[in-house]
């Protein structure tokens, strides 16, 4: 270890960890009736840390512990995104936790720990560090998805998640071992250099690559490694479903993007088709199977599997443009999915139902929720003037620019399929009438905080769709950082960065 490690650059991570312990500790001193305080402390704490981190790390560019851990604008971008996601989930959970969960202190603290894990994933510059932070995130999510102790579905979800997650970790580790055997290092930059040196690619390397892709595929819920997703989505507490759909995906893509760009770029030809094929399979399968779902959480689970396919395009294309596109699509996907999931959470809080026909006539009972869900679903389907339109357009253009027009075409068809099942839910809300019996005509009330979160996310969806340039400017810098530390670019010199 070099003596001049600048530990102070890790302040944001230390602060988040400290916040988690603070919340754990505070839990002992807060009376059960006032546990809400913990949520506010957590959210405010994360907000303060964001406010501190951005100016603190703005122009920092360093590589700590011999390249194990990166501090650059790419990592900064995902740090802020992770903490933002954390705040949204905490505030969105408030009423759900109040009504349906016990142990709120642990709940919020574990979310904060998982935010820390997400921050570390984007900053890892080495395979084992990446693996450790990924596991930290996974463990938090295993616990969180089983948090509804009285609900057998939730328990089942957690067990499934743990078993398949452990299996995928095994694959990933074995892949890492093989890569280390073939290349002699686990540092991203070193791997790239070794790959360029070897010239040919041997079997060990290929198997290692395939296993790493499979392991990450499990974490991302990409087909054919998606089987856990629908059950976990359906069983987990609703805000955690949103968190798994958004947070874990954003972090896993942050990690994958850096891994493929910085370490594996020289072997582009070996894995591009693998990733592109997985992307095509994922988007088709996820969207087709979503059509027949009758439970809204399962439908969204398959829909988010489909979304993973879109995001994988950004890795398959591997260009600065594609990296921008992937990140902006992630941002759009996050706000959009939060808008939908939290609106559905609000509905569930009030009614305890989550099947698609239960939404009949919602436009009359809760115009705000219906509008937010519609905005979100239309955005997911890629309709204008919402985030999904711009980000998909960007992503598909970037893929086409790298010769993956066929994949872009598949993605557009998959988008069309997704519109069909999104419209089924919209039809229930706007065209069907509410059932007469069992209080179907009762208005669904949404508490203020939750309404504010939903409103903010829906507004974000619109703003990103109307004027994405400010977000993109930040993202371009993040991509530039990736390029800076990265090694050979197979498609270097592409215009438009």
């Amino acid at each position: 270890m070099t003596p001049d490690v600048r530990f102070e650059l890790l302040w944001p991570e230390f602060l988040v960890a400290g916040l988690a312990f603070l919340v754990f500790t505070l839990d002992f001193f807060v009376r059960p009736a006032r546990k809400e305080v913990l949520a506010w402390v957590s959210a405010a704490g994360l907000a303060v840390i964001i406010a501190f981190t951005v100016p603190f790390l703005l122009n920092e560019h360093d590589s700590l512990f011999d390249g194990l851990y990166r501090v650059d604008s790419y990592a900064l971008f995902f740090k802020v995104l992770s903490m933002g996601i954390g705040i949204a989930v905490i505030l969105g959970s408030l009423h759900f936790v109040d009504r349906r969960l016990t142990h709120p202190g642990e709940y919020y603290a574990i979310i904060i720990v998982s935010v820390l894990a997400m921050m570390m994933m984007a900053a890892s510059g080495e395979l084992l560090t990446a693996y450790l932070s990924l596991e930290l995130l996974s463990f938090c999510l295993y616990i969180l998805s089983g948090f509804a102790l009285q609900d057998r579905r939730s328990n089942e979800a957690s067990v499934k998640y743990v078993l398949l997650g452990a299996f995928s970790s095994g694959l990933l580790l074995y892949g890492i071992v093989l890569l280390y055997g073939a290349l002699g290092t686990t540092h991203f930059a070193g791997m790239a250099a070794a790959l360029e040196g070897t010239g040919g690619v041997d079997g060990r390397l290929l198997v290692g690559l395939a296993l790493v892709v499979a392991g990450l595929g499990f974490k991302l819920a990409a087909v054919p490694f998606h089987m856990w997703a629908p059950d976990v989505y359906q069983g987990a507490p609703m805000p955690i479903t949103a968190y798994i759909a958004v947070g874990s995906k954003a972090a896993a893509f942050a990690l994958a993007l850096r891994l493929f760009y910085e370490a594996l770029a020289p072997a582009y030809d070996e894995w591009q088709l693998l990733i592109a094929g997985m992307a095509a399979l994922t988007m088709i399968f996820g969207n087709v199977v979503a059509i027949v779902q009758t439970n809204v959480k399962r439908m969204l689970a398959y829909s988010s599997v489909g979304q993973v396919g879109f995001l994988l395009m950004g890795i398959a294309a591997l260009s600065p443009l594609a990296s921008n596109a992937l990140m902006v699509h992630l941002v759009g996907y996050s706000v959009t999915n939060f808008a939908v999931f939290f609106a559905i959470t609000a509905f569930y809080n009030a009614t305890g139902k989550d099947d698609i026909p239960d939404f009949a006539g919602l436009a009359g009972r809760a115009p705000f929720l219906a509008a937010a869900i519609t905005v979100g679903l239309f955005s997911l389907a890629g309709l204008p003037f919402l985030a999904g339109f711009v980000t998909k357009f960007y992503l598909f253009s970037a893929a086409a620019a790298e010769g993956l027009l066929w994949l872009a075409g598949v993605a557009m068809v998959a988008s069309l399929i997704s519109l069909y099942y999104y419209l089924q839910l919209i039809r229930q809300m706007y065209i069907e009438r509410a059932p007469e019996d069992e209080g179907g005509s009762v208005t669904v009330a949404t508490p203020g905080v939750l309404a504010a979160v939903i409103g903010a996310m829906a507004l974000g969806t619109v703003l990103l769709g109307v004027y994405p340039e400010p977000v993109l400017a930040t993202i371009r810098e993040a991509t530039a950082a990736l390029l800076d530390t990265g090694s050979a670019w197979p498609t270097l010199g592409s215009a438009g960065q």
Binding site: L321, N324, F378, L383, P384, F385, F389, V390, F393, Y394, F396, S397, A400, A401, L405, A408, G409, M412, V413, S415, L416, L419, Y420, L423, I426, R427, Y430, I431, Y467, P468, E469, L472, R476, A495, G496, Q497
Partner: protein, 517 residues
């Protein structure tokens, strides 16, 4: 926006768009306020469109009609608007039909706020497609014009149900048969067809953009700069059909037309008017202003197919209209048939044919708007659209009958109405390029005469049954709308020179750009 004209173009899209967003905050139960507010938005658009049309200078510099903002530089996307001889009449068409549609929607009392918000958004999308000169925004507005349809039809539309009612005695249209088409079916079918079409368009846009980017090293979505790139012939031949079929779906191109009758029948009156009157033109406009302009060699290679399919449209639509029992289905299939003339005109790839095609877009838009407005009135009064049951309405609804007759006569191409001129131009263009198809197209016009005259004879003339004794004729407002639309048809029928001159000033440079004229 350096010029006043630029500001006007900007306002044309911005007024309905932001107008719709502002309407979100209106109290939902103030129906009268909402109606008047929407009328005001439509009227502003009408004034702007008329002004642009009247002051349009066919020899002048088009540079003054420019709006240009950088929007997403990484991909080379700019928010640019412009006006040409082709779009000027189409903008006017949109303004007229929107105004008429809002006025005949006085009877919308079911959630009028939501209805007018979606309708106004749709209209701003249509303006946007006509005015955008950046392919990204053209596509953006294209989708914006398509999306609201689902809810507009699904919530405010009407279903066709012939399962319960027996047809009246005597020779009728189509005869018995059980036929049941819920509005949700029409809405979903329309939505999926149109979005599937736009997926094809999207693929082509992205392909052209990527090809141009690798050829020039510069990313741009501006139609003009995409058109300036020399694409290989192979590329053009492969990707032109994506534009042709993708936009063609919206234009009702056979065999991708089947959404159109189902959708138009299920839609509420104003939406049918806008959709058949204006939105289908977006498709034809897209083929012309995007497909042909960007990929001229592809357009030439595929022109025989386009004109051939257009001819099928004309004949197939007309024959299908003959067999319909639902009044709106007759009009729906007649739209498919008439869009065939537009597609044929586009397929000729020569000045007269293209002039005819654009003029036919305008003329058919007004005509079909009039049709749907009048059919809407009949349906509102009788709650029926079944031709086998409706008889002798002329005795009670003379005014509606007269306007319907005017639309019908326009439809069959009677001299004096604008469609005569438009179809004549298309016929001339076709005879000069594919004489045999020209003959078939004229036969199509003859079949039109049969179904229109049979319809009029059955529904308006003949003995009236007692159940229609208290039927109310058109209200003054409805009569005024009908009269205004008939006046437009007559004006351009008797004095077509100015509008053809404007269209011609847009068509000629377009063909020159393609390297044809």
């Amino acid at each position: 926006m350096s010029s006043m004209e630029g500001a006007l173009l900007f306002a044309l899209i911005a007024v309905p768009f932001f107008g719709a967003l502002v309407m979100v905050f209106f109290p939902a139960d103030k129906h009268s306020l909402i109606h008047w507010y929407t009328r005001a938005i439509a009227f502003v658009g009408l004034v702007l469109a008329v002004y642009l049309f009247v002051t349009y200078d066919t020899d002048g510099d088009l540079g003054k009609y420019t709006v240009d903002f950088a929007w997403l530089p990484t991909l080379g996307i700019r928010y640019t608007l412009g006006l040409s001889g082709i779009t000027t009449p189409l903008v006017l068409l949109n303004a007229i039909i929107f105004m008429a549609g809002v006025l005949v929607s006085w009877n919308v009392t079911h959630r009028p706020k939501d209805f007018f918000i979606w309708l106004t958004l749709l209209v701003s999308g249509v303006y946007g497609v006509f005015l955008a000169t950046d392919l990204f925004f053209l596509f953006f507005f294209y989708e914006l014009a398509v999306v609201p349809m689902y809810l507009l039809i699904g919530v405010w539309g009407s279903s066709t149900d012939f399962t319960k009612m027996e047809p009246a005695e005597g020779p009728g249209f189509g005869g018995g048969g059980k036929f049941d088409r819920p509005k949700e079916y029409g809405a979903m079918k329309l939505m999926l067809y149109l979005v599937a079409g736009s997926v094809l368009v999207w693929i082509a846009i992205v392909a052209v953009w990527a090809e141009a980017r690798s050829a020039t090293g510069e990313a741009s979505f501006a139609i003009a700069s995409l058109a300036a790139v020399e694409y290989s012939r192979e590329f053009q031949v492969i990707f032109y059909p994506f534009f042709m079929i993708g936009f063609g779906v919206l234009a009702g191109l056979w065999p991708f037309h089947t959404w159109s009758p189902d959708g138009h029948v299920a839609a509420p009156t104003a939406v049918s008017m806008l959709h058949a009157g204006v939105l289908m033109k977006l498709g034809a406009f897209g083929i012309l202003a995007v497909g042909m302009v960007v990929l001229p060699e592809g357009a030439e290679a595929w022109a025989p197919v386009l004109i051939g399919l257009g001819t099928v449209n004309v004949l197939y639509g007309a024959v299908s209209a003959l067999g319909q029992r639902d009044l709106k289905y007759v009009i729906g299939y007649s739209s498919v048939s008439h869009m065939g003339y537009v597609l044929m005109g586009l397929g000729t790839l020569e000045v007269i044919g293209l002039n005819g095609a654009v003029f036919q877009m305008f003329s058919h838009g007004i005509m079909t708007g009039l049709f749907f407005a009048m059919v809407g009135i009949i349906y509102e009064r009788t709650h029926l659209r079944d031709i086998t049951v409706l008889e002798g309405l002329g005795k009670r609804m003379g005014v509606v009958g007269a306007f319907l007759a005017a639309a019908g006569l326009t439809s069959l191409g009677l001299p004096g109405f604008s469609s005569f001129v438009a179809e004549l131009l298309v016929f001339i263009g076709t005879f000069r390029t594919y004489p045999l198809l020209g003959v078939l197209a004229v036969i199509g016009a003859a079949i039109t005469a049969v179904y229109i005259l049979r319809l009029m004879a059955k529904v308006f003339f003949g003995p009236i049954s007692d159940r229609w004794a208290d039927l109310e004729d058109a209200k003054p407002l409805e009569a005024a709308v009908g009269a205004a639309l008939v006046a437009v048809l007559l004006l351009w029928g008797l004095y077509p020179f100015r509008i053809v001159e404007i269209i011609d000033s847009g068509v000629k440079p377009l063909l020159e750009g393609m390297g044809i004229a």
